[in-house]
Amino acid sequence: MSLDSKIPSGPIAQKWDKHRFDMKLVNPANKRKYSVIVVGSGLAGGSAAASLAELGYNVSCFCFQDSPRRAHSIAAQGGINAAKNYQNDGDSVYRLFYDTIKGGDFRAREANVYRLAQVSAEIIDQCVAQGVPFAREYGGTLANRSFGGAQVSRTFYARGQTGQQLLLGAYSALSRQIGLGKVKMYNRSEMLDLVVVNGQAKGIIVRDLVTGKITRHSADAVVLGTGGYSNVYYLSTNAQACNVTAAWRAARKGAYFANPCYTQIHPTCIPVHGDHQSKLTLMSESLRNDGRVWVPKRKEDCGKKPSDIPEDARDYYLERKYPSFGNLAPRDISSRSAKEACDDGRGVGPGGRGVYLDFADAIKRLGRKTIEDRYGNLFQMYEKITGENAYEQPMRIYPALHYTMGGLWVDYNLMSNLPGLFVIGEANFSDHGANRLGASALMQGLADGYFVLPYTIGNYLAQQKEKAPSTDHPEFVKAEQEVHDRLNKLMSIKGKRSPNSFHHELGHLMWENVGMGRNEKGLKEALAKIPQIREEFWKNLNVLGDKEDLNNALERAGRVADFLEFAELLTLDALERKESCGGHFREEYQMPDGEAKRDDENFAYVAAWEFKGVGQAPVLHKEPLVYEEVHMSTRSYK
């Protein structure tokens, strides 16, 4: 199968308009004859399900949480970018496009990113109309702030809960459609397989997590909005249940997985404090607007109280290395700099894995009240977790896995190489390249769901002459049987170890060997070890409880099993990409000053991997990245 990204021809600013005109439409009266399955109810899935139902399609939406409102998009704190130029500071669609391409280290598809910047303004209009209470100025207009990787103020926010507010906006739109009967919502339901009929995605197999019942669902198209795979590292800022299962099941059925090695490490998380830890807590990057990052200049000072370390003994390393961006340097750069400082033995806090984020100057300059207004909830959260008061002593932060830029490969229409399978939001790979800018995840999720997919899916549906297959079709029967067999197998191993212990083991290996700094030796070691853990898993797993009841252990076991297959692909991709770019940093490929060394000659492509079986080498398909508009340059934030 060839990889056709279906990018429309013409100048970049007109591609989307032209494409919208060229696409086939479904007659309004005919829309109700088509059904669409949406898996996931976050920003992407929720907004897509609502918008599709508004257009008249029959939508079934699935989420594994107890309510669509709980999707992990809810945890995004900082904000959402949009090229509104409300602040009159020189922002434009082109600037947002350029910043995103550059932030992504020239590994994203130009046309997709331009479209993202184009629709960004509409997203804000849409959300305000839904009643999202964005922050405002006294005059009644919307407030903005600046965010990492940008020199304009284009980020809209709702206190430190922007993701929550945007998700609740999408959830309210979705709820309205559920109430109207246009969306059938399935809560506590997990997709366990994709059904492909005659080479087209036509349905899914679902387990009801409360009753254990397995059901088949057929539709004219399947949309995955199932998020990222950060939890392959066990410890991440993602919610506990975030997983790769839906995407991986699709990959096993033939959808290509693109750029899995592009993972983002968020620089401002609360450091790890113990082995029992179940998750890492992120604090909004907006903290970097006023906080100054530093470590002691000398290793000997690390044990001292921060207040006892004089100004001239502190190393404000981001300000020193990147004078123009300073503490607002992009995420990958800030994270790696923190790791370097800690590797250099100058980390602070338990285990030496932390750097200071200091608000003393900001409090002196703006007053405690202003800092409280801006970050009060974050300071409170920090205190609840660490027991430390960040108004009086600097916070300790350390990078943690946060977002994954890689995902299922999609073309310009957000359709994967499997016709009928659309992938939106974090689950696809398309817009962020090798690194995502702050406040861009929310933008992408909503752009895909509100303003891109509803058009492009129509183009596909309009060409579907046959009705969706019946769930009695042999492919459905076969897929359901496979799901049953797999669950039975998980239940029947009756070994000694919990699913959690395998997850923990895998995550530790991934963080150590495929984490912030990667090298050939470590990656090869991981490639050797992952199959061993997998083998042990299938021999020594123990799942207690029943298949027919709510069973967290069984759910976890299935997700860990998929992580164990997927981790190998992620590692292989990291090994094959012999360059450093964005969130992927190969220690062998760096500049003399430690900056990432990209290799545009050999690696300016999207690596899309075709699954060939567990333990079999996947096949690499390359989509060359052609830059017509932007000149690929070395990223510099100095």
Partner: protein, 265 residues
């Protein structure tokens, strides 16, 4: 600050196989707990040890573990989300408990929130209330510019106070009447306060209250328990706002079904 000493607890936790089987409180002794653990990490430890003994782990709802998804829902020592104020139980840390203490853990209790298993309850009643009217009826696209309607900072902030609700249901769990009015009033007030939500304010309030009653939640007797346990500190003044909006809607006769009109050309 982190401390290295380990703590021991006597955990009494609700075990119930499924909705049909009656449940009971079961006691477990749990040692080696670090004060830096979160409450749910303590339960993870309990579950790992149960696992090692071949006993089925305790089911409890949780997801983001940073106090925003609203999934965690445990009644700890008689208080939803436990003794720490203005946080969810997932953000509560063991350092606030006393070494050797007995900790009683129960699911939310309310007719409208039936127990599914152990400490997991079904809160879909909240979803149905939102489906009845907790939205602005606006389709995707065709909306005016975001700055077209100025909204005073005070109103935007007040709407945000209401919008901070995470839908966890602690208000219902804490209320002696199992009233959902703090949830309903927060959701309705957020939209009723904003100009974008004003057009269908009356209809929204009536529909949401009707749905709330249908789900079997009780009435608000203004005890303030909801406010005391709300992890987001949502004030009961929103309940007063809802009562006011409801009374106005009724006075205006908004509850009468409009006569059907023949429309379209």
């Amino acid at each position: 600050m982190s401390t290295s000493n380990s703590m021991t607890f006597n955990i009494r936790i609700w075990r119930q196989k499924n909705a049909k089987t009656p449940g009971k409180l079961v006691e477990y002794k749990l040692d080696g707990i670090s004060p830096d653990m979160s409450f749910l990490e303590m339960l993870d430890q309990l579950n790992e040890r149960l696992y090692a003994k071949g006993e089925e782990p305790v089911a409890f709802d949780h997801d983001c573990r940073e106090g925003i998804c609203g999934m965690c829902s445990l009644n700890v020592n008689g208080i939803p989300h436990g003794p720490d104020s203005q946080v969810t139980i997932c953000q509560t840390h063991m350092r606030i408990f006393k070494d050797g203490q007995t900790i009683t853990i129960e699911p939310w209790r309310s007719t409208a929130f039936p127990v599914i298993k152990d400490c997991v309850v079904d809160r879909s009643a909240f979803d149905r209330i939102i489906q009845a009217g907790g939205f602005v009826s606006v389709n995707t696209g065709g909306t005016p510019d975001a700055n077209a309607l100025p909204i005073s900072k005070e109103i935007a902030d007040l709407a945000m106070d209401a919008a901070a609700c995470i839908g966890c249901g602690a208000c219902v769990a804490a209320c002696k009447n199992s009233s959902a009015l703090l949830f309903v009033s927060a959701k309705a007030s957020q939209l009723n306060l904003l100009p974008q939500g004003k057009a269908e304010k009356d209809r929204r309030v009536l529909k949401m209250v009707e749905a709330m009653d249908k789900e079997g939640f009780g009435a608000c007797t203004n005890t303030n328990s909801c406010e005391a346990v709300c992890p987001k500190g949502i004030p009961v003044t929103f309940i007063a706002q809802l009562n006011r909006d409801y009374a106005w809607a009724m006075l205006k006769g908004a509850a009468a079904e409009p006569k059907a009109t023949v429309g379209g050309a």
